[in-house]
């Protein structure tokens, strides 16, 4: 039985599936206690995270291949989804969708063949389209959901085409290296799908609309877990052929994304859209990290740099979007003079923004440092310079936000959404995200530990 049905290999995914079932059952109950759904959500995610942390399974069931990178990334997905689970409104449909999405990511991480890769890709995207379209602002949410759907499905289709081309070259669906023009073209197409998921520049147009229209916490989930899944997909593809055309073009994509993301965010007036473009800029750093990792033959340390970047970004981005949800602000004008009204929240915002900007001693600084270090190690000096420029430009608008919050006098009435009391859950998530992102820069041992874990693969 175990040989056919891979119980321990898919333990985290099974936990999530159980979560879906539990959510649906809870939904069916007539009078259910208030916090039940949230409890279900959090407990299922924690269970999945713990199970993912368990030791590597010995047997390799068909279609699956679990390795250290896969496990670590599963941890990442569950952690990334936690804030959303806590902040979501009491409705079983989004909870189920969330579990579906995280389950898809788990599959992607444990994929041993292209089929599971595609299944994971689609299974994580479909619920995401629905989550986006359930945003509070009906009008924009539906439009963003649709845009995200069509762009995502096209990317899925492209992935499929790439898969078949690669299949034509490698004659089997397993994740095995293959050579020849067909394989290169296949990899390129699949790479395009992965780059789409991360939000690389020429393929990024859906991202600002989706992040702006979705609820802040959903956008947080998208920007962390979804992006991590995209990065993992890209790493899997780069791992197949480290010297392939895709791997060689990645640094260029990274630089383009970093710079465009930074420059486009300068002029934004709506906060969520600004954070969307800033997430594009951070995606550029991740792509550069993967490119540098691939250029060094896809070994351990490079992956640690990307992984640490994702962890740091997880805390920063979830924190920033959680702040938007807690404070109810939507445009930069409303941010003016916020520090006078809410000094504590403003302090957390400042810590998060400085961390996003990459100013020491924040986690963002160490993350950017590790990526730039890897880039310098593999000799891409131009890319490192572009990274420095992007960091500088992005710091420009982060500082502008802090300036608006702290140095400007409060102008006019705060928006109605900002007046309601902050729930303890919101404050907890905000603290849980802001504190680590502010101080992780101090402790490079965390990155050290990761390198150890990842290089053990």
């Amino acid at each position: 039985m175990s040989s056919f049905l891979p119980i321990e290999a898919l333990a985290p995914q099974l936990a999530l599936a159980a979560g879906v079932v539990a959510a649906l059952l809870a939904g069916m109950l007539k009078e259910r206690p208030r916090g039940l759904l949230r409890a279900v959500a959090v407990s299922a995610l924690l269970a999945a995270a713990l199970l993912a942390g368990a030791s590597l399974p010995s047997a390799h069931p068909p279609l699956l291949r679990l390795d250290r990178i896969g496990l670590c990334w599963q941890e990442l997905f569950c952690l990334g989804a936690l804030p959303l689970a806590v902040l979501m409104e009491e409705d079983e449909i989004p909870v189920a969708l969330l579990f579906g999405s995280v389950l898809g990511m788990g599959l992607l991480a444990a994929a041993g063949s292209f089929l599971t890769l595609f299944l994971g890709l689609e299974l994580m995207s479909l619920p995401a389209y629905l989550l986006v379209s359930r945003g509070r602002r009906e009008e924009e949410a539906r439009e963003a959901g649709l845009k995200y759907f069509f762009a995502g499905s096209t990317a899925g289709a492209l992935f499929l085409l790439g898969m078949t081309l690669y299949y034509a070259a490698s004659r089997s669906l397993a994740l095995a290296p293959a050579s020849g023009p067909l394989a290169q073209a296949g990899l390129a197409l699949m790479g395009a799908a992965a780059l789409f998921k991360i939000g690389a520049v020429p393929l990024h147009f859906w991202l600002p609309d989706a992040y702006e229209a979705a609820d802040p916490e959903v956008a947080g989930f998208l920007s962390t877990s979804m992006k991590a899944a995209g990065v993992l997909l890209l790493m899997r593809l780069a791992e197949l052929a480290p010297s392939s055309a895709l791997a060689r073009v990645l640094p260029a994509f990274g630089v383009m994304t970093m710079l465009a993301g930074a420059f486009l965010a300068l002029r934004q007036q709506r906060l969520q859209r600004l954070l969307a473009y800033s997430s594009i800029s951070h995606a550029g750093f991740m792509i550069l990290g993967v490119g540098a990792w691939a250029a060094q033959g896809a070994t351990g340390a490079g992956a640690a740099a990307v992984y640490y970047y994702l962890i740091a970004y997880l805390f920063m981005s979830n924190g920033a979007f959680a702040f938007l949800k807690t404070s109810g602000l939507s445009t930069r004008a409303q941010l003016r003079g916020y520090a006078q009204r809410e000094p504590r929240l403003a302090a957390l915002l400042a810590a998060l923004l400085l961390s996003l900007g990459g100013v020491p001693p924040t986690a963002g600084f160490l993350a950017k440092l590790l990526i730039l270090w890897e880039t310098v190690r593999c000799g891409l000096y131009g890319a490192a310079l572009a990274g420095a420029l992007a960091a500088l430009v992005s710091l420009g608008y982060y500082l502008a936000l802090i300036r608006d919050a702290y140095f400007e006098p409060a102008a006019g009435q705060p928006p109605p959404a900002a007046l309601r009391r902050h729930s303890s859950g919101e404050r907890l998530v905000l603290l849980a995200c802001a504190i680590p992102s502010a101080l992780l820069g101090f402790f490079p041992w965390l990155a050290g530990g990761l390198a150890g874990v990842l290089s053990g693969l």
């Binding site: 039985m1 056919f4 049905l5 079932v21 649906l24 059952l25 939904g27 069916m28």
Partner: protein, 118 residues
């Protein structure tokens, strides 16, 4: 040999395509009314929106549900054919699969999605 078959098959499909999309124009009467012929009689009002309205939304919901449950059939077929080979393991797998579907059906019913109100 199969190349010839393929070519014929391609040609045949193309021919069918052309015929079906143009047969009414060939057989039907030439469109006589031109210009103000389109306008309603002298007392009628010009139409506000296109003639064919949209199908009632409820019907779409049933179409979607049908698609969801019908596709699962695609998985039952190979399972049925290969059941003797895998035996018990396949049985439990498929029962879990069907169980989930039933749970989904129960949930939909509970939520009142299946009633057909106007």
């Amino acid at each position: 040999m199969t190349a010839l078959a393929m070519a014929l098959d391609a040609a045949f499909t193309l021919a069918l395509l052309l015929v079906f999309s143009n047969v009414n124009r060939w057989l039907g009467p030439a469109p006589r009314h031109e210009g103000d012929g389109q306008l309603p009689y002298e007392t009628g009002m010009p139409p506000i929106e296109r003639a064919e309205g949209s199908m009632a939304v409820a019907y779409y919901r049933f179409a979607v549900l049908f698609v969801v449950f019908d596709v699962d059939l695609a998985f039952l077929l190979p399972w049925a054919l290969s059941r003797p080979v895998f035996g018990a393991a396949a049985a439990t797998a498929m029962s879990v699969f069907v169980g989930l579907l039933l749970l989904l059906l129960a949930y939909l019913w509970r939520k009142g999605v299946l009633e057909c109100k106007r």
